[in-house]
Amino acid sequence: MADNPTQQLFDLWKKQTEDAGQAWLKMLGQGQTVDPQAFWRPFMDQNMAAWSKVMTQGTASPDLMAQWKQFLDQWIAAWAKVLEQAMSTEAFAKAMGKQLETFLSAATPAKKAAEQQTEATLSALGVASRSQVVSLAAQLVQVEEKIEGLEDRLDTILKRLTELGATGKTVRA
C-alpha cells in the first residue's frame, strides 16, 4: 500500500473492484443467477467511504477536482478490466451467440415480408425496386471489370509493340 492517503483509497477501491469482478465471474462460470444488488453494494459502500474520508481530510482545494478526475479514471479502468474479463469468457460468447440467434430468427421473416411488400408497392407504382437497382449496379461493376480486362490486354499489346519496335530499330541499326 502507498503512503499517500488518496493513493491508499485508490488501491483499496481497485482491490474491491477486482474482488467483486472475480466474484461476478465465478457466478457466471457456475451458471448462478447474478444478484445485481450484491454486485453493486460493495462499489457503492466503497464510494461513499472514500468520499467521506476525502471530504474530512481538510479544506476543499482545486486539487480536489484533480483527485476526483483521477478517482473516476481509476474507477473506469477497473470497470473496463472487470468487463473485459467477463466478456472474454465462453459463457459470455455463448450468451451473445444466443442473443444474435434470437435476433436473426426474428429478423429473417420480418425482413422477407418487408422486402416483398416494398417490391410489390414499387412495382405497382412503376418505380424500380431496390433489388433492381442493386442488380443494375452489380452489372455496372461487371462491365467495369470487363473494361479493365480490355485495358490490361491493350497495355500488353502496346508493350509488345514497343518491344518489337525497339528490336526492329536495333536490327535496322
Binding site: M65, M87, S88, E90, R130
Partner: protein
C-alpha cells in the same frame, strides 16, 4: 474581459498565494469549459479533416488510389493499405499537425493511400480473394506506374496488414522493397475478444450473412463499442476535463466525427474474413489459396517491420508479432509501442512514438 473576470475574485487571506493562484486558474478553466460546451451545443462546427493535398490516381468500383503531395526526397514510394469497411481512412490524415500522412509526406515519402471505399449491397458478392487478387494488385500497379519507380514499400494497417500480406505472399513477383505490418493480426489464435466472440461454436457466420446480406454499419459499431464498453464514458470524462483547452476540443471534434462514422461490410467478404481468418486461422498456417495461388508468408523476403500496440484490444501484440517468425527476410524487426489500436497511429502519442520510428526505419531502407 475574460482574464479580468478572474482577477476580480476577492482576496482570501486565509489561503497561501499559491493556492489562490490555483483556485483562480481552476475558475478560469471552468469558465472556458462552460463557454466551449455552449459553443459545441449551440453552434456546432463541422470539423475539417484530411488537410494534406492529394490527387486521385485511379478508381476501381468504389476503391480509390490517392497520391499525397510531397517533395519525394525518399526514392521508394510507399503504399498504405488500411482496413476494408469498419471506418473511413481519413483518420490517417485527421488534422493539420495531427496527421500520419502529413508527417510521412513531410519526411519526403511519395505516399499512396488505398481507399477501399464504401461498399453497398451491389458489392455483396465481393470476397476477400477479390480484394486481394483484383483490387489490391491493380491499385498497387497503378501506384508504381504513377510514381515511375521500380520498387515499392507497402504498409498495412489493421485488416490492411493481413490483406496486403496475402497479396504479397501470393504474388512474389510484385517489386516489394519493404513491408510494414502496423497493428495487423497475423496469428488469429491470439486475437483476443473478437476471437472468442467469433468462435464457430457460438457464432454462425453463414446464418448471419445469409440473413443480413450486407453487414450493416450499426452492427459493426455495436461490435466495436462492445469491445470496450467504458470507452464512451472515459472519452466524455476526458472531454469534460479538457474542455477548457481549445486545441483539445478541436482534436476531439475531428476524432469524434471519425469515431462515429462506421462502414458496412460486404456480406461475402465478412463471411470469408470470419471463417478463414478468425475461425480457421488459415493465414499463419499457410492454408489460404487466392487467385489459384497459395498464400505463403515465407515468400516475403524483403525487410519487414511489425509494430504492435501495448494496449491494443483489436489486434493484441501477440497476434501481430508472429509475422516476424514466419517471413524469410534476413532483416526483420518487431517493436511494441505505447497506445491502443488507434492511438498507435493517430494522435499525439503516435507523433512521438510511432511516426518517427516508422519513417526512420523506412527511410534507411528506401
Amino acid at each position: 474581459m475574460k482574464d479580468h473576470l478572474f482577477t476580480m475574485t476577492p482576496e482570501m487571506p486565509g489561503l497561501p498565494p499559491e493556492m489562490q493562484e490555483r483556485m483562480q486558474e481552476e475558475m478560469r478553466r471552468n469558465f472556458l469549459r462552460m463557454k466551449h460546451f455552449a459553443e459545441m451545443v449551440m453552434t456546432p462546427k463541422e470539423p475539417e479533416v484530411g488537410p494534406t493535398p492529394r490527387e486521385e490516381i485511379y478508381r476501381k468500383n468504389k476503391s480509390r488510389l490517392w497520391r499525397y503531395a510531397s517533395k519525394r526526397t525518399v526514392k521508394t514510394p510507399l503504399l498504405f493499405v488500411p482496413n476494408l469497411g469498419i471506418s473511413r481512412p481519413y483518420i490517417f490524415d485527421l488534422m493539420h499537425n495531427g496527421s500520419f500522412i502529413e508527417y510521412m509526406t513531410g519526411q519526403g515519402f511519395d505516399f499512396y493511400l488505398l481507399d477501399w471505399g464504401v461498399f453497398g449491397p451491389e458489392d455483396n458478392s465481393l470476397t476477400v480473394e477479390d480484394a486481394v487478387t483484383k483490387i489490391l494488385p491493380r491499385l498497387a500497379k497503378k501506384a508504381l506506374e504513377s510514381s515511375e519507380a521500380t520498387e515499392m514499400s507497402v504498409l498495412g494497417y489493421c485488416m490492411g496488414a493481413p490483406l496486403s500480406a496475402c497479396f504479397l505472399a501470393s504474388q512474389p513477383e510484385f517489386p516489394l522493397k519493404n513491408y510494414i505490418n502496423m497493428a495487423g493480426p497475423i496469428d488469429f489464435a491470439h486475437v483476443g475478444l473478437f476471437g472468442t466472440w467469433l468462435d464457430p461454436r457460438f457464432f454462425d457466420v453463414d446464418r448471419y450473412v445469409d440473413t443480413l446480406g450486407t453487414i450493416p454499419a450499426d452492427m459493426v459499431k455495436l461490435g466495436f463499442k462492445l469491445l470496450k464498453p467504458t470507452m464512451d464514458l472515459s472519452t466524455n470524462l476526458n472531454l469534460w476535463w479538457n474542455l477548457w483547452n481549445p486545441e483539445y476540443v478541436s482534436g476531439f471534434n475531428a476524432l469524434n466525427k471519425w469515431a462515429n462514422e462506421y462502414l458496412p461490410f460486404p456480406g461475402e467478404f465478412f463471411r470469408h474474413w470470419v471463417k478463414d481468418f478468425y475461425q480457421q486461422n488459415k493465414l499463419i498456417k499457410g492454408e489460404l489459396t487466392m487467385g489459384g495461388r497459395s498464400v505463403r508468408l515465407e515468400r516475403i523476403s524483403c525487410p519487414v517491420l511489425a509494430v504492435g500496440a501495448k494496449e491494443d484490444n483489436i489486434a493484441p501484440p501477440n497476434c501481430v508479432k508472429p509475422l516476424i517468425s514466419v517471413v524469410s527476410s534476413p532483416d526483420r524487426e518487431y517493436v511494441e509501442l505505447p497506445g491502443g489500436h488507434i492511438s498507435l497511429i493517430a494522435g499525439r502519442g503516435a507523433s512521438i512514438h510511432c511516426w518517427p520510428k516508422v519513417a526512420a526505419w523506412l527511410a534507411a531502407r528506401s
